[in-house]
């Protein structure tokens, strides 16, 4: 019974959408969070400590709060309404990317700080330019980037508030849908179809565990190489 549910076309589509939506969210967040993390990691400027504590605090932002703010902004009458992002997959991705960005900024800037001193001096004494020395440091900090990406992805795929308020849990056969694992679980629980909800929960757990396992493997591999 449970196997039938898990392998049904509808459930697979929902699971794949979860991975896609949160995957894009993670890529987006990496895209703009790494530069921010580099600035915080490399440079000393006034207000830097405040910036760091701001990002640290934002790691725990409740998803419903972020979801509500984004809903009001993205609704057609809101200030970003023209983008037409409410109730779309891309809307969820952007919302989740904002949610997980602080995780990446904190992780990456910390790991840059950790390797900064030794590597920069070593690279400079070996005749590297400033730019090359920075690149060398990012390579050193890459395991931090990977870890942050995994933590961020797991937070994104497991959150409900944004996916529900920005996505709307839309499902029409063959349409532009936004139903993901967490919103589907929520719906099936409220419809009293607990079995399907359990099946979806198992899939969600499996995704999180597999991703974490893979990251551990890659992490060990990266460590072994350097």
């Amino acid at each position: 019974m449970l196997i039938d549910i898990i392998t049904s076309e509808e459930v697979l589509e929902i699971a794949l959408r979860s991975i896609k939506v949160s995957g894009i969210a993670t890529l987006l967040a990496l895209g703009y969070s790494i530069p921010v993390a580099m600035v915080i990691g490399f440079f000393r400027f006034p207000g830097r400590d405040y910036l760091k504590s701001f990002f640290n605090a934002m790691i725990g932002v409740p998803t419903v709060v972020l979801g509500l703010i984004l809903y009001l902004m993205l609704a057609p009458n809101g200030i970003l309404g023209r983008l037409g992002l409410l109730y779309t997959e891309m809307g969820i991705s952007i919302g989740q990317s904002l949610l997980i960005s602080p995780i990446i900024v904190s992780f990456v800037s910390n790991s840059i700080e950790a390797v900064e001193k030794e590597i920069r001096e070593l690279a400079l004494t070996l005749g590297a330019t400033d730019f090359q020395a920075s690149i060398a440091m990012i390579k050193e900090a890459s395991s931090g980037v990977l870890l942050s990406a995994i933590a961020a992805f797991n937070r994104a795929i497991a959150e409900l508030g944004i996916a529900l308020m920005i996505g709307g849990n839309i499902f029409v056969r063959g349409g532009q849908n936004t139903r993901v694992l967490t919103t589907a679980m929520q719906m099936y629980v409220s419809r009293g179809e607990i079995e399907i909800a359990i099946a979806l929960g198992l899939i969600l757990m499996a995704i999180v565990f597999i991703i974490s396992y893979l990251s551990n493997t890659v992490h060990t591999y990266l460590r072994g190489e350097t």
Partner: protein, 316 residues
């Protein structure tokens, strides 16, 4: 090495292009709706069948009736499928058009114990309050401004009790959540003390059939328990598509509604099958006055070539 930064930059640009040029299918209707309608699965069938017939994709966003109206005010939805005539009236006057009643059924008072006997909903509620104050029974309310909750408030008023006052009494429990969870809560509480709640028939039958609750129906008759589902468009929002949907709902949709559900009794009755007596009840509880007639949609809010039901207003 020299070009290693190119890849992420390209990815970022592709994503940005994706963001600012989202593929827009203009043949999409976004409709905010109530959870009691959505959770039965009826709207899944309607969306699928309507897409086959017209190629128009309907996105149903389930919320309570109150929240669905807020959605529309935010400019999100092109139409509403709701069941709260009182809230609908204000909305219609502010920004709606073409309100059509498309289905009805009856609310039921359900509970865990046959402690109270009453012939009507109002009599039942009076007894609930009486026994409640003696600590013998509890009443569970959704208290979430949903259509069901609005109906509950009306019933308390008819029973001569003040909702905002009894809300603070010990026997009155608010869940602030959907119908399904409220039924489960009533079921749990009912194991220690007789507990009752007002439910739409659809959610109740579904939960009962799945063996999730042991509650029984105690009152299911009477005009005051009628539950009227209507649809209306939001002015200036994809009006053509919405009117096409409205016409379809009055035609092929009626048959789908009548045949929906695999339970001991139908979940919804299409309006086209209502007899004279029922139609008078619907008019009394779900129509608005317009030019000394009762109608589902006053003249000034009508658009297109739809037909609307009107009945002569009668002295009550």
């Amino acid at each position: 090495m020299k070009y290693s930064y190119v890849v992420p930059v390209v990815i970022l640009f592709v994503l940005l292009a994706f963001i600012f040029f989202p593929s827009q299918n203009s043949r999409i209707l976004t409709i905010s709706t109530t959870t009691s309608l959505y959770d039965t699965g009826l709207l899944d069938v309607i969306a699928e069948e309507f897409m086959k017939d017209s190629g128009i994709e309907i996105h149903f966003i389930p919320k309570g009736t109150g929240a669905a109206i807020i959605d529309a005010k935010q400019g999100v939805s092109d139409g509403l499928l709701v069941h709260s005539p009182v809230l609908e009236k204000d909305f219609l006057e502010e920004m709606g058009y073409n309100r059509k009643v498309f289905a009805y059924n009856y609310f039921v008072i359900v509970g865990s114990d046959k402690k109270i006997e009453a012939s009507s909903a109002t009599e039942f509620l009076m007894k609930v309050a009486e026994y409640g104050r003696q600590g013998k029974v509890v009443w569970v309310s959704r208290d979430d401004k949903s259509g069901t909750n609005t109906k509950e408030k009306e019933l308390w008023k008819m029973a001569g009790l003040n909702y905002s006052e009894i809300k603070n009494e010990a026997w009155f429990r608010s869940t602030g959540t959907g119908m399904g969870k409220t039924l489960l809560y009533t079921n749990n509480i009912g194991k220690s003390l007789p507990a009752y709640t007002l439910s739409d028939i659809g959610t109740f039958l579904k939960f009962k059939k799945d063996g999730l609750i042991e509650l029984e129906i105690y009152v299911n008759k009477g005009e005051e328990l009628i539950n009227i589902y209507s649809m209306m468009g939001v002015r200036g929002k994809k009006e053509e598509l919405f009117m096409e949907f409205e016409k379809w709902m009055m035609d092929r949709g009626q048959k789908i509604i009548a045949e929906f559900g695999d339970y001991s009794q139908p979940l919804f009755y299409p309006i086209s099958m209502a007899d004279e007596k029922t139609l008078m009840w619907i008019a009394k509880y779900g129509f608005f006055e317009d030019n000394r007639k009762l109608t589902e949609c006053p003249l000034e809010f009508r658009k297109g070539s739809m037909g609307f039901i009107e009945v002569e207003s009668y002295a009550d």
